[in-house]
């Protein structure tokens, strides 16, 4: 059995969702539910912190794309933080390395976001 945990942090600088463990077809729905549950506001940035991600298969990639679609349809941004090497390799392989905005850490992603979390 794979293990996967998702933790949502409602920080002042915007929501951060931490995915840890194995993101696959079994855990992808939970990952996506967490992003949907945030209901991002326009102008906000959702950061997916992937530092603890041990594995990500095609269903996991699908969930990351879906998370981006959800954020964008709410006129919010989405950034990946702490992308582990194995996932970075996969993103290059599937040609999505420039599709996602990525940062080394969640804090850097938040610092780089131009708009204040309140959307003002």
């Amino acid at each position: 059995m794979t293990s996967f945990t998702v933790t949502t942090l409602d920080l002042e600088a915007g929501p951060v969702v931490e995915f840890a463990g194995e993101l696959d077809s079994a855990s992808a729905p939970r990952a996506l539910q967490a992003v949907e549950a945030i209901s991002p506001r326009p102008g906000q940035q959702v950061v997916l912190d992937l530092t603890g991600l041990l594995f990500c298969d095609s269903s996991g990639i699908s969930a990351l794309i879906a998370a981006r679609n959800i954020a964008h349809s709410a006129e919010a941004g989405l950034a990946l933080a702490g992308v582990p090497r194995h996932l970075a390799r996969t993103l290059v392989l599937i040609g999505l390395d420039t599709f996602f905005t990525t940062y080394a850490t969640a804090a850097q992603a938040q610092a780089a976001w131009p708009e204040s979390p309140a959307g003002g």
Binding site: I61, N69, L93, G95
Partner: protein, 396 residues
Amino acid sequence: METTFSALLEDSAEDLYENAPCGYLSTLMDGTIAKINATLLGWLGHERAELLGRRRFADLLPVGDRIYHETHFAPMLRMHGEIGGIALELVRADGTRMAVLVSSTVKTSANGTAQLIRTTIFDAGDRRAYEHELLRARQEAEQERDRVQLLASTLQRTLLPPSLPDVPGMDVAAYYHPASADEVGGDFYDLFPLTGDTWAFFLGDVSGKGAEAAVVTSLTRYTLRAAAVQEPGPASVLKRLNTALLKDQHGATPRFCTAIHGLLEPAGDGAKVTLASGGHPPALVIRHNGAAELLDTRGGQLIGALPDARFVEVELRLRPGDTLLLYSDGLTEARTHGRVRYDEEDLRDWADTLDVGSATETVAAVSLLLDSFGDGVDDDTALLALSVRLLGDERP
């Protein structure tokens, strides 16, 4: 206070015995019924006089249980002085049966002589019904699983070619390793003739598993087959597929695939291959001298997730004895025994040491590699290999 309490207890002892929520039965050592409570008489539908001194406990059992009683129950009771929780059936006066749980103890006199057997009988009707229900549910689950596996394997067969066609001058081989018997896998491949001497092939991997993935696999296969005939080259074929998959999206979660699609044309004593990749792990070329290389198709994007996906096309020549191997990521994402995932470079390094000269040998070697991973392969794996026959090797 204490006096009142014991008086109450004393007063109800006989009533408790007669009308307890379980049956009480005392028999002589030969099983002859000596005492029986009203509860058990009520369950059995017998009069007390019909049983006392006239019938043995074993007479209340159906034949099968009577044999069990004589061969197991009674000997165990004599040996241990007690026996508990035995499931038996009792035959009522009207011939119907009731499921019971029986416990017995032997009462001995002060000098240790066995005097009588005390038996407690619980109504096990509910418990039996529960156990029957469990058994029935398990049988149904097993039948259901068989049906699902049959459906999955039937559906899988419709998504893969029943056999590969013969390509003149080439050896071709394919392999499919399903990760689960219950679910249709998301991998697909095909090889088919286009016009003249040109052949088209593809291998890919649809995201997700099960029926939903099968729908995408089916759409992908038919689109690729049709587009390969109409479009000028592999990259524009993948563009067509991208458009078709995007039109078929439901909800936020994209249903995409990664795939390599290529054309094969005879050229000189070998073949020219043009292939395009949409986010798929790089194809491997194993030269006749043993050197292996990964075809660089980086930059090609997965198919069906982005409106303006890019695809990367490369050309190569296969000479006699050279093999082109396409594979799905079940192979390169397999966990090896040390739980480190196996990647494309590992595959290339492994292939570098191979001494193979044909598609058939290559697929056989890779399937052995997969077997060596054992349970480490937790995704479906598809392989498709094409090789130019060595001169003088005219086997059909």
